[in-house]
Amino acid sequence: MKEVKISVIGILSAVIFVLMFYLPTSALDSSGTITITMTGSKEISISLEPTNWNLEADGDGTVSPNTEYTTGAQWCTLTVGGNCDVKTYIAGEDAVGTDEPAYKWILSTDGSNNVGVYASWFEVDDVEHGDQRCTLIPEATEESPGENLWPYSGGSNLSPSDIRHFGLKLLTPQPDFTDGGTGYFLNGGVGVQTTVTISAVAA
């Protein structure tokens, strides 16, 4: 009887032993995941075409005192690139003699010209947006990047791929002297150059 008990225990042990081989082990992860996070930055971009205005309205490559010159309101095309809405500003500066830096035309602050003082404006004639104006171009300051280019009711923000047209107008300084009823600048044959800057900031 004792041998039978031992045998029974032996058989049970064998069964348990065999079962142990088939006990499932803990499941493991056979895959893993990596999560990439990122945020697209704001990118501001505008382009202008053309970027040069060579005043040769008198036909001889010269300009006369106290005379208005204009490009026409559709002259320049501004295209907004980047990926965010922008506010655009325009600012001018004093005109400087290209070969004589000491020779300057001061940019007018009120639209009136004077001896050695000139004025410039930007013109818009946008039927689609009901926008028609001629606005004085100021000088940029630390407080202001210039005049807001499109402050009309449609909003002063331009969006990527927006296109706007504008022109420039310039009033030359009063003559330095007059001879025979005709005004002249004191320095003849001097090249004068100035830059109009259009800037954009994220809206």
């Binding site: 999560t35 990122m38 930055s41 965010c84």
Partner: protein
């Protein structure tokens, strides 16, 4: 009645089995035990997140370090090949997404992902697509399947991401890369 007969027969079989064991004292029998260990497939990744922060358009970003950024370890007990797949990057608050390129070129709202295995040829990157592919080693210009042979075998890799040429700004994007192990 039938149950009774069956019960009697079973009792008889059990009794005979015990009896044969008891009577076989002068004999010997061998029991052959055969067993197969269970194959377990398992891997772990040392990294779960790659936060690139603010990204510029049309710009490449590398994990840091570029080749040893993440370690894949075989936690199972069998040799495995590794599969990898990516997915479109999704804005967490809308349906906006960046499609995952399948030809190594980016575009508007389309980005590109690659991986590089540590120790592989310098600058060798393999494209990650939405379709699952077997991860490859690139050594001396030739490719071979990347496998982890045994428990604790491991390999390191890095990621490279090329942002879209154009995208909407200020939208947090999220994309998952899944790496799986399959027995080879």
């Amino acid at each position: 009645m039938k149950l009774g007969i069956v019960g009697v027969l079973l009792s008889g079989i059990v009794a005979l089995a015990f009896a044969s064991l008891v009577m076989a004292q002068g004999d010997s029998e061998e029991i052959t035990i055969t067993a197969n260990t269970e194959s377990v497939i398992g891997i772990t990744l040392s990294q779960a997140n790659l936060d690139l922060g603010n990204v510029a358009s049309n710009t490449e970003y590398l994990s840091e370090p570029p080749a040893e950024w993440c370690t894949i370890t075989n936690t199972g007990n069998t040799s495995v090949d590794l599969k990898i797949k990516g997915e479109d990057a999704k804005h967490i608050d809308s349906y906006y997404r960046w499609n995952l390129s399948d030809d190594e070129t980016n575009g508007e709202d389309e980005y590109v992902l690659w991986y590089h295995i540590a120790g592989d040829d310098v600058g060798s990157y393999t494209l990650i697509t939405e379709g699952e592919i077997t991860m490859q080693r690139i050594k001396d210009g030739s490719q071979s399947a990347l496998s982890l042979q045994s428990h604790d075998d491991h390999v390191q890799f890095g990621l490279k991401l090329l942002t879209p040429t154009h995208f909407h700004a200020g939208r947090p994007m999220e994309a998952n890369i899944t790496i799986s192990a399959v027995a080879n």
